[in-house]
């Protein structure tokens, strides 16, 4: 297991290098640059040239990239923002990442609490009105983009009913609407997976045998059905969490959640290259780690996979 993890971590290095290089180049391909934005509409070309020199942006892109990677390797340093009074990106990540992580955890919990029971009951009451209604809701949740759902929830619960705050991230009540907006889609995905997985299990021989041996249907479903049906859902949950962690850009922007998504969007509009690079590398690392964690967890959960690995 340890060698498996090590191997995967080593494989992550070239991926991260490739990603960082891509972002580095793509960010610079976007029209206009940070200096033009910092300088504003009244600066002369001479001032812009001078600022470019001061920020080291007049060097060839490859030289800039090598400097960047070297600083990362040598000092473990993502560099400094061009704006924000030259704040260090490591410091920015330190304050932003916990916020994004909290939002992702909450959204995942919300998705589990809402999605799993819906999936279970839809499977148990397969083809009844409940099943159909549940699947209708699920399709709706999957199809409504957060950029629509967020403002709708705000209008209803914050502006009209005034039960919840509009935006910001200062108290637990502030986290409710972003959590729902971010988690809704995942809840729907989990519900669908739980339903189809449980339907599959319900048709298995071992379940029929358990009932034939005299176990009540309820007990059989609970002890043997759901337990086995949850395994594939667990994998999906991992992927969902990875997506939640890296996919809260829109939700964070709508609700002004000061996490890495919001910061990334801001830095993109300002062409704050070091921040764009730092945040992307961070998100990519997280994604790789979450995927690794899923693989490891999968082995822990399903002994069949673990034994296969052992044999290999």
């Amino acid at each position: 297991m340890l060698s498996f993890i090590l191997k995967r971590l080593l494989l992550a290095i070239p991926s991260l290098l490739a990603i960082s290089f891509l972002v580095f180049v793509v960010a610079r391909l976007a029209p206009s640059g940070p200096v033009e934005i910092i300088a504003g509409d009244k600066a002369s070309p001479a001032v812009i040239q001078q600022l470019k020199h001061q920020y080291g942006l007049d060097k060839p892109v490859l030289v800039q990239y090598t400097d960047y990677v070297w600083n990362m390797v040598r000092y473990g340093d993502f560099g400094k923002s061009f704006q924000r009074g030259g704040q260090s990106i490591t410091a920015m990540i330190r304050t932003d990442f916990p916020v994004t992580a909290q939002l992702a955890w909450q959204a995942l919990l919300f998705a589990i609490v809402l999605g799993i029971p819906i999936g279970i009951f839809a499977a148990l009451y397969h083809n009844t009105w409940f099943d159909r209604l549940a699947m209708l809701v699920v399709v709706a949740l999957v199809s409504i983009p957060s950029i629509v759902m967020g403002p709708l929830l705000i209008l209803v619960f914050a502006v009209q009913l005034r039960w919840l705050p509009i935006d910001s991230w200062t108290s637990p009540s502030h986290t409710i609407l972003p959590m729902i907006t971010l988690g809704a889609r995942s809840a729907a995905i989990l519900a669908r997976f739980m339903r189809s997985s449980l339907l599959d299990v319900l048709r298995q021989d071992y379940l029929r045998t358990a009932i034939a041996k005299g176990l009540s249907r309820g007990k059989a479903v609970w002890k043997h059905g759901i337990k086995n049906a949850v395994i594939p859902v667990l994998t999906v949950m991992g992927t969902v969490f990875g997506a939640l962690l890296s996919g809260s850009f829109v939700v964070e922007t709508i609700f002004r959640v000061p996490g890495i998504g919001y910061e990334s969007i801001n830095s993109i509009t300002k062409r704050d290259y070091p921040v764009i690079q730092g945040m992307t590398v961070l998100v990519a690392t997280l994604y790789i780690l979450v995927n690794l964690a899923i693989d490891v967890m999968y082995g822990m959960v399903d002994p069949r996979i673990r034994s296969q690995e052992a044999k290999q």
Partner: protein, 555 residues
């Protein structure tokens, strides 16, 4: 047993998730400690209004945009300030003398002015502040525009000198600044943030930087000081009790950073904000609401929105005066204002907005006259628009009213002149880059005054630009406009000591600029704001609200 182990592991996972959540939950509550909440319940004696963008910097030397200027002018101050009558008035300088040659200002500083850390501000601090702003290490993008007239400032900014030779500390309370020529409009530059005074020891303790990672570095002399800066979230200011102009009436100012206009209006409606700027696009929502309608106010600003006709762009048809005049007379400004601004702007026949002394109050405009416009276009060789090159109309894409105005103008040119216009909404940064390269032929843009003087409109924007030592001497003339008589009148106005004669020069120059139509002024900007009745005594100048020294809120 095998099945059970699955469940216990799952439970473990869930429990660890929950505990992490709880831990993070603590973080959330920590973030809120020590700062006034943005909720209505605890509004108290705090003025709450949003920042529409993240402040670009807290360093006065680097601040360029109006939003951030409004923020830092509460904290830092300069020698002089614009009054609510739009005149230069003393601030940290009590008064000043001008030498007979008009080149040397001696500022007599107010005595007993304290920095937020309690130390007295003196002339040395001003010398340090201006020199730090010009130091290339500071990376200021504004000093070249606002401090370049001071002898030696450019040399220092280019790294050729260690200090500014034109700035002398005569004694503790006297600061002498020498200019490279007589410039009657120059004091306006001293209202700009790069001329604000900063506190040497606090800045040096922060490695020469002024930023949010060490709020002590933002020590100024202003009526408020930064108490909390939460990136992407909220900025809080607290009153400075020992302010030289008297203790502010407010306990503090709370500035949540809310970029979305719809969200700002939502927050205002539920009472989380005391005032909020709105865009014309929101006027329908506001005017349909009885309460909001009464709270709507509008403020004139020193900014002109115009249609730029660039003669330097490749293949530009605007080199012909008749073509420019035809365009000017084919635009129905009233309709543009009605559609794009919902009537909330002042029609512009001048280059210079109202309220600026020396503006030509008897201008003869090129009025809307489609028949005359058609005739002029025919004279230029394009009868009914035939043979006229297709134009690309470039403008920034982040304000709906700008796009709307451009669409109306394009439609008018098509209907009245038979000219085809391609719309090209652009990202702001991209627009700036191309505008500076002077490749955009037809643009819709505004000029916002740096200081209230005809020079800042006429000479700065439209004087012929020549290359001097490889640099344009009038880089803001983005239209390639050149008229020797206009240049002569501007030069005369720029150096005339008698204010009445000066005004006469500029009045003549402005009439020439209107007749030649290098650009077509459309409207003078008004800021639309919703203001809660609890806000009292808000002071305003053409640049925006003045520092909130006298502003009050009823709790």
């Amino acid at each position: 047993m095998q099945g059970l182990s699955i469940f216990s592991r799952r439970t473990v996972l869930l429990l660890s998730a929950l505990s992490l959540l709880a831990l993070n939950g603590c973080n959330t509550t920590n973030r809120n400690e020590g700062g006034a909440s943005t909720n209505t319940a605890s509004a108290g004696n705090v003025l709450r209004y949003p920042l529409t963008t993240e402040p670009t910097s807290l360093d006065p030397a680097k601040v360029e945009d109006g939003t951030t200027i409004d923020l830092i002018q509460q904290v830092f101050e300069g020698l002089v300030i614009w009054s609510d009558k739009n005149e230069i008035t003393p601030n940290l300088a009590e008064n000043w003398d001008l030498s007979p040659d008009g080149k040397t200002y001696s500022f007599h500083l107010k005595k007993g002015v304290k920095f937020h850390n309690g130390r007295e501000m003196t002339a040395t601090d001003f010398k340090y502040s201006l020199e730090r702003a010009c130091d290339p290490k500071t990376k200021s993008q504004t000093v070249q525009s606002y401090l370049k007239d001071i002898v030696g400032a450019t040399d220092m900014n280019l790294g050729k000198a260690k200090g500014i030779s034109g700035i002398k500390v005569v004694d503790k309370y006297t600061l002498q600044i020498t200019l490279d020529g007589f410039k009657p409009y120059w004091l306006g530059n001293m209202t700009y943030p790069c001329a604000y005074v900063i506190c040497k020891e606090e800045v040096e303790r922060n490695g020469g930087e002024i930023n949010e990672s060490n709020l002590a570095s933002t020590t100024g002399t202003g009526p408020f000081k930064f108490t909390e800066v939460r990136r992407n979230d909220l900025i809080q200011l607290g009153a400075f009790k020992e302010y030289h102009g008297g203790t502010p009436k407010l306990d503090g100012i709370s500035r949540p950073i809310v970029k979305d206009a719809g969200q700002r209006l939502n927050k205002y409606q539920v009472g989380e904000l005391d005032f909020v700027e709105i865009s014309p696009a929101d006027l329908d929502r506001v005017q349909g609401d009885a309460t909001l309608k009464d709270e709507l106010k509008s403020f004139p600003r020193a900014a002109t929105w115009y249609i730029g006709l660039n003669q330097e762009a490749k293949g530009s048809p605007f080199t012909k005066r008749e073509v420019r005049q035809a365009i000017a007379m084919a635009i129905n400004k009233e309709e543009v204002i009605k559609v794009a601004m919902k009537g909330q702007a002042d029609l512009a026949n001048n280059v210079i907005p109202p309220g600026i002394k020396g503006r030509n109050e008897h201008i003869q405009p090129l009025s809307f006259d489609p028949a005359k416009a058609k005739q002029l276009l025919a004279q230029a060789g394009y009868p009914d628009g035939k043979g006229f090159p297709e134009l690309t109309f470039s403008y920034r894409n982040d304000y709906p009213q700008v796009s709307l105005a451009a669409q109306v103008v394009a439609q008018q040119l098509k209907t009245n002149l038979g000219i085809n216009v391609q719309q090209r909404p652009m990202e702001w940064a991209q627009f700036l880059t191309e505008r500076k390269a002077k490749t955009l032929a037809l643009t819709h843009l505004r000029w916002a005054a740096d200081y209230l003087d005809p020079q800042n409109f006429l000479s700065t924007l439209l004087h012929t630009s020549k290359k001097v030592n490889g640099q344009e001497d009038h880089p803001e003339n983005g239209m390639g406009y050149n008229n020797l008589e206009f240049d002569r009148l501007c030069d005369a106005g720029d150096t005339e000591k008698d204010p009445i004669k000066r005004a006469e020069f500029y009045a003549k120059a402005e009439q020439i600029a209107i007749d030649d139509a290098p650009w077509v002024p459309i409207y003078f900007q008004r800021d639309l704001e919703l203001i809660k009745p609890r806000v009292k005594n808000l002071k305003d100048s053409l640049f925006g609200h003045r520092p909130h020294v006298a502003t009050e809120v009823t709790p």
